[in-house]
């Protein structure tokens, strides 16, 4: 009986140790397979012909994704310009200016809405936003602008919920100190609280950036998917993610490898953003 007990203990510990590696192992497995499929292609086609050419025509053997890299960056930047200020403003207002009772209603509402599937946002972009842009700003409507607005809205819950946590983590003594010195609420916010919560807020923005860079279905629906370098906000664009999803279903051979190579570019960009966000959250001020 005693022997059996010891065995159960050790089996449990051993199993848990193995299981604990599941997330890290999955991450490595994903990286290995994406790179294994895509890396040889990059050297076959040539790194500069792949990364710095805008000539994308798989049947003719042309695989330049430069315009898509540029488009992804534009759309992400646009989304940040819309989503970050709105989200941070919302987080500040809810924490510092609203009574607790109202915050207890609004914050959960926003967090619930984080669950709206991305395809729904994309569809609304097509049905409501694109016709509006076409009517008042010209172009086909499906455009950088439409994609930026939709993504900007989609990242709001991410920005708000992480920034709110960062601001709420600032000790109350900081607020009381500022207010006791005669500062107004706003002065205490921008002179004290924002400085103390800075790294958490930055992390929220960078995580949101990763989300908009990686968003696929909503972007396919509203961005227009034309492969070329955009010259205006109302031009249709194809992002890296859209390229993968659009061509995946009928790509074989070299064309499929090209999509995995596109995946590598995306993977590397996202991992860089992740690493920055994680270190920002761990740095001083993010955690208390």
């Amino acid at each position: 009986m005693m022997r059996l007990k010891i065995n159960v203990e050790q089996v449990a510990k051993g199993l848990l140790t193995v299981v604990a590696f599941s997330a890290l192992a999955s991450l490595l497995l994903i990286a290995v397979f994406i790179f294994k499929e895509g890396l040889p292609f990059m050297f076959k086609v040539g790194l500069s012909d792949f990364l710095f050419s805008s000539d994308w025509n798989p049947p003719a053997g042309k695989f330049g994704i430069f315009s898509m890299i540029v488009s992804s960056l534009y759309v992400t930047l646009g989304a940040m310009l819309i989503g970050a200020p709105l989200g941070i403003a919302g987080a500040i207002f809810m924490n510092e200016f609203l009574p607790r009772s109202m915050m207890r209603v609004i914050k959960p509402t926003i967090e619930l809405l984080a669950g709206i599937p991305s395809v729904v946002f994309g569809f609304l972009g097509v049905m409501v936003l694109a016709p509006f842009i076409r009517e008042y700003m010209g172009g086909p409507g499906l455009s950088i602008l439409a994609a930026s607005i939709i993504l900007g809205i989609m990242i709001l819950p991410t920005v708000i919920s992480i920034s709110t946590d960062a601001i709420a983590a600032v000790p109350n003594s900081y607020r009381e100190g500022a207010l006791a010195l005669g500062a107004t609420r706003w002065q205490s916010v921008h002179m004290v609280i924002l400085k103390a919560a800075r790294s958490g807020i930055i992390a929220s923005v960078i995580l949101a950036m990763g989300r908009s860079l990686g968003e696929t279905m909503a972007v396919i629906m509203v961005a227009g998917n034309t492969v070329r370098i955009p010259h205006s906000l109302t031009d249709p664009v194809r992002t890296l993610t859209a390229n993968i999803a659009l061509e995946m279903s009928n790509a074989t051979g070299l064309a499929r490898e090209a999509l995995f190579a596109t995946g590598i570019v995306l993977f590397v960009l996202i991992m860089i953003l992740n690493a920055i966000a994680i270190s920002a959250m761990k740095s001083k001020g993010g955690k208390r």
């Binding site: 203990e9 403003a89 967090e111 619930l112 599937p117 609304l124 107004t184 995946m248």
Partner: protein, 279 residues
């Protein structure tokens, strides 16, 4: 001239307040718009009959079945892994370089875009393991995707169990594993279930990772090796290929209601759990 602090204060309240209002209104508009356009199309017939002509007519029954089966299967694969990881990180080890690596891996996995999961699931499960587009390929892919959520929420729930519980259990002569099974897990259960529900919610709304691994067959799935189409994928195909806007809105309405209900349940459970603990 120096602007008075009173003026900047008023200006700040105005600007920040309108930004907050705008945010809430936009998000509520999205829900309201879809429900108003879609709910009239949601009838018993729509929910209980099979689609005809690729979804142009008829209902969404097989996609409802897919939407239930796929997340359930994914979560049953992810739960043992995620909860096990959380138990290991909280009860069986101290902070070391290794645990930091494990946490970093979890955080990174959480940030990977769904299309990358789709690519990986396609090349690994569908092509390399020759499973084809099927329920199981989709569920395995989704299980990796929701793993970070489950690990994090379970870890928080387990950490929230007061240390006194562990001490009492050990002092009664219980082993570590007995303490985990009889004291810690029962007490952390509401928090763990919350994570599970959030994972289900995320799986239901997912499209990119599902369409390349579970496929998009409109037939009723009979085994885990059959291809399925979830509501999200069905909605995407209806909308993108312009098959029927009316059916797309109705599908979106069902989708949004399911996801919001699931998140609401998770949220209330989490709050009950937190307020019970902080007493």
């Amino acid at each position: 001239m120096r602007i008075s602090p009173k003026f900047t204060q008023a200006l700040a309240v105005l600007v920040l307040g309108s930004a907050t209002l705008l945010t809430v209104l936009v998000l509520l508009f999205v829900v309201a718009f879809v429900l108003i356009k879609g709910l009239p199309g949601v009838t018993w017939d729509f929910l209980s009959s099979a689609p005809k002509e690729m979804g142009k007519e008829g209902g969404i029954l097989p996609t409802l079945v897919g939407t239930v089966l796929l997340p359930l299967l994914a979560i049953s694969i992810a739960m043992p892994l995620g909860v096990g990881t959380a138990i290991y990180l909280t009860e069986y080890t101290r902070e070391t370089r290794m645990t930091r690596a494990l946490r970093f891996g979890t955080d990174c996995l959480a940030g990977i875009p769904s299309i990358i999961f789709g690519l990986f699931g396609f090349i690994f499960f569908v092509v390399m393991l020759k499973m084809g587009w099927c329920l199981l390929s989709g569920a395995l892919t989704l299980s990796i995707m929701v793993l970070p959520t489950i690990i994090r929420t379970s870890e928080e729930a387990i950490r929230a169990v007061p240390n006194a519980y562990r001490e009492v259990s050990f002092s009664l002569g219980a082993t570590r594993w007995e303490t985990v099974m009889k004291v810690i897990l029962p007490n952390a259960l509401p928090g763990i279930v919350t994570g599970m529900i959030l994972g289900v919610g995320r799986s239901i709304g997912e499209t990119a990772a599902v369409i390349f691994t579970a496929g998009s067959s409109l037939r009723m799935p009979m085994t885990v090796f059959d291809s399925v189409r979830t509501m999200s994928v069905h909605f995407y195909i209806l909308a993108r290929e312009g098959i029927s806007n009316e059916k797309a809105y109705a599908t979106a309405a069902v989708l949004i209601i399911s996801v919001l209900l699931i998140n609401l349940v998770a949220y209330t459970m989490m709050h009950r759990f937190i307020s019970k603990r902080s007493k």
